[in-house]
Symmetry: C2
Subunit: 206 residues, 2 copies
């Protein structure tokens, strides 16, 4: 479901129109900023905006997608996030590299780069939260094990992808900046895989 | 040799004083900006500043160190760069991670982070050039082989370190941001080693 999907039904409380969509976004922006991502519910946003929760879902999809709309994330993150859930665990590293770089190199790329720069300069706290809460939590949930909650692994994996992002899209370190996608996947995928599921501490290999 | 070392001798052409040092820096800044790092020589900078080349070396050391002074690099890069030359090739990845993060976590760290932010926002082209020309070329020369000039490897390694820098020092992704140095070395060192000397393409392992 895209954040820009036009309403096909109407709510009981407010007509489904542009003002309603804007009211939901305003309410969500205030809630997320005040209470944070975890403590904000679709129900609370709907109450603030005086609409039915179903209308929030109808316009924006999941809480993650509502958040993406609030931070004006330039692309629907759901297709990429769904890859995190569907890729085989032993191919997750390469799958993430391929999906994420595919988005950077898409028509939405310039918007992502602009947002990335804002995050890097500290001008986009909500977008930063979006990365850390929504995206990373989804990855962490996928790789968590009884003896390893995955937090350290995810922070290492995000460092890897941030570095490829900065080198490829922000300061343009060649030849990585121009490297074909397949070559980047071959080079970076195994490192990502190691961070996500391989040995990352100094203990002897068993 | 530090850029702040006070002169112990005097040149024949100009007295070795604060003005001379400033004149050399001005000449170097103009040369580096106009001709780039590679095409700028100590001799040319000395001629522009109307001093003897030996005085430039005396004040600033190598061309790399002169460049570091021009971009107001907050720490003498030579101790880190010398590690690139002296570490065993099969331990280069961990050695670089340990040395570089050691500098970030040192008293010079805040200055490095400030400069890093400027590079990320495109406000520090000379500093960017410093990274790409001086630092990376030194690494590339170390790992180059007859069948592999090392350019792709270095760009992947710099992406890895940029990512750790951004995650640890700029947007503070936990737990990586607070991870002890030894743990970061254990986690990131093997990835760096792979980028520098391991298999990075998709061809079958031999």
């Amino acid at each position: 479901m895209s954040a820009k999907r036009s309403p096909g039904t109407r709510s009981g409380r407010r007509p489904g129109n542009v003002d309603t969509r804007a009211a939901i976004l305003d309410a969500a922006r205030a809630r997320f900023a005040e209470a944070g991502f975890d403590k904000t519910s679709i129900r609370a946003v709907a109450a603030d905006a005086q609409v039915d929760p179903a209308l929030v879902h109808h316009y924006f999809g999941t809480k993650q997608q509502l958040f993406a709309a609030v931070v004006e994330f330039p692309v629907d993150p759901e297709p990429v996030l769904s890859i995190i859930d569907s890729a085989p665990l032993d191919e997750l590293g390469s799958a993430i590299v391929r999906a994420v770089i595919g988005v950077w190199d898409s028509p939405a790329g310039p918007g992502i780069v602009a947002m990335g720069r804002s995050v890097l300069t500290g001008d986009a706290d909500l977008a930063r939260t979006f990365f850390l809460k929504v995206v990373l939590e989804r990855v962490r949930a996928r790789i968590a094990r009884p003896d390893d909650d995955g937090h350290a692994r995810v922070s290492l994996a995000v460092a890897q992808m941030l570095g490829v992002f900065v080198a490829r899209k922000v300061i343009c370190v060649e030849p990585l900046a121009s490297m074909p996608l397949d070559a980047v996947v071959a080079a970076v995928g195994p490192s990502m895989q190691r961070y996500l599921t391989g040995q990352i501490d100094a203990s002897p290999t068993t």
